[in-house]
């Protein structure tokens, strides 16, 4: 029997919205409008994607999968780009990075028969990989910018001692990668102990045997771990050089970074 939540039951979800709404009203947080709007928007988005997925799942996989993956990658690129717009070629680097990550992961899945080339398997799993990679790239860009600002003295010192930008940035690159990878290492360490991962929970609720659900969860968790590492590494290694000009001089502010793009 397929699990079913009736529409009437869904209506009672409004109680979950009323809790933060009441808190906002009581403590005058001024967030009531945001709470109502985000709840409505989230509901509409989810139903819309539900219908779109139903449509895509019925399509020929060779059409539906590339179409949806392209849309996801482009949206993810724009989102991550917002975190480092002032950096030259950031858009292209992120786009290329996401394509490389997704193609690599998908190739491995298919080559080792972990996932079937059907929209219902590839699209949701790729969505998780692309989404996590997007977050990792955005975080890496933000972290890199703040590390460059905070460590400008050290970078100047390194350059003045004869270091090339790649050598001077070593510390920044290490810190950025650490920051991007640590949350994932922690998540993997506690997986199944602190919280049951979303995908596994979904599969179990959908009637799949727990051991099979765990296998899928392992595939996705380790794929995400790998793709997040690759994304952070790719964006960091591709972008650090834009904090310097061609004369191995540190660019000190956003204006100088922007001027370099021209």
């Amino acid at each position: 029997m397929e699990p079913e939540i009736s529409n009437q039951s869904l209506l009672f979800l409004i109680i979950f919205v009323l809790v933060p709404l009441t808190l906002s009203y009581y403590y005058q947080l001024g967030m009531s409008k945001d709470i109502v709007w985000s709840s409505i928007r989230g509901t509409v988005q989810l139903f819309a994607i539900g219908y779109i997925l139903t449509f895509l799942f019925d399509l020929n996989p060779f059409m539906g999968i590339p179409l949806m993956l392209s849309i996801m990658i482009i949206i993810a690129t724009f989102h991550a780009w917002n975190k480092g717009k002032e950096l030259p070629h950031a858009f292209l680097v992120i786009l290329l990075g996401l394509i490389i990550v997704e193609v690599s992961v998908l190739t491995l899945w298919l080559a080792f028969d972990m996932v079937e080339f059907t929209p219902s398997e590839v699209i949701p799993m790729s969505g998780m990989v692309i989404g996590n990679s997007m977050v990792a790239m955005g975080l890496a860009l933000e972290r890199m910018k703040s590390e460059f600002t905070e460590n400008s003295g050290r970078l100047m010192a390194a350059l003045s001692l004869g270091a090339k930008p790649s050598q001077a940035s070593h510390l920044i690159v290490t810190k950025t990668l650490n920051a991007a990878l640590i949350p994932n290492v922690d998540r993997l360490k506690t997986i199944g102990l602190v919280q049951l991962p979303g995908m596994m929970t979904g599969l179990i609720l959908g009637g799949v045997a727990p051991v099979m659900a765990i296998k899928y969860q392992l595939v996705i968790s380790l794929s995400i771990f790998s793709s997040v590492s690759l994304s952070a590494m790719f964006v960091t290694m591709a972008m650090y050089r834009y904090f310097f000009n061609k004369n191995d001089q540190l660019l000190e502010n956003e204006e100088e970074l922007r001027n370099q793009q021209k």
Binding site: G153, R154, M156, A157, A158, L159, S160, L161, G162, A163, K164, Q167, L171, N247, D248, Q249, L250
Partner: protein, 232 residues
């Protein structure tokens, strides 16, 4: 005959305006002037941490742009206001510069610590366990590890208390003499300037207002700007 180390000809950028001067070997030059005068901006031109928009800078008779940047920076060492040490030990910092080009000799570590008057036991000490003065000594040792000919100093004692500043000053004075270094120092402290410098370059609003013997400049300023600056 005096050997010219640096020659500036019509050097200008957004901050500095039409600078013309020479610096000879072993000179002890003080760049001074009010905040925002362009002192640090000028200092960073000597080792190409900045480049001017116009004009020519020659180093040892050759345009500065013809040198390999990393090699130029090794020869024209810089000590900043803050030590800016790299995470790790004193040894990690001392060997940083020479290691970049595979020239580190482990025997140099002891010698460098002697230069900056730190005990040998400090070699494997983590830099974050050191006091401000000790960190600045390590930073100086790190700069000297590259065996520079010119030493650029950007207010090297301004972040330190009076006593520690005096100690660093003594170390600097001795090392500059011993190693026959050409020194170019930015400082706000006119007393320190007199103690360490021989020649003064007085900058204001990016212009070189006075250039000459430091003692005479401070006792008998030629320009109104310098008179006012000294009185302040």
């Amino acid at each position: 005959m005096e050997h010219t180390v640096f020659q500036f000809q019509n050097v200008s950028d957004d901050i500095l305006h039409n600078l013309n001067f020479k610096i000879n070997k072993n000179e002890k030059v003080i760049l001074f002037g009010p905040s925002g005068a362009g002192k640090s901006s000028l200092l960073f031109l000597f080792n190409r941490l900045r480049d001017p928009k116009q004009g020519d800078i020659n180093y040892n008779g050759k345009p500065i742009t013809e040198y390999v940047i990393s090699q130029l920076r090794r020869k024209v060492g810089l000590l900043l206001q803050s030590p800016n040490l790299f995470p790790g030990t004193v040894l990690d910092n001392l060997k940083y510069g020479p290691s970049l080009c595979g020239e580190w000799n482990p025997d140099d570590a002891k010698k460098l610590l002697e230069y900056v008057q730190l005990p040998e036991s400090y070699l494997n000490r983590k830099v974050d366990q050191l006091s401000g003065g000790e960190q600045q000594r390590v930073s100086l040792g790190r700069t000297l590890a590259n065996s520079p000919d010119v030493l650029l100093l950007d207010e090297p004692t301004s972040a330190l208390d009076y006593r520690t500043a005096e100690e660093i000053e003594e170390v600097l004075e001795r090392l500059i003499e011993e190693h026959q270094l050409t020194m170019i120092m930015v400082t706000h402290d006119l007393k320190q300037a007199k103690r360490l410098g021989e020649r003064g370059l007085f900058l204001m609003d990016g212009e070189l207002k006075e250039d000459g013997d430091l003692e005479s400049m401070l006792t008998d300023p030629k320009t109104e700007e310098l008179k006012e600056f000294i009185q302040d």
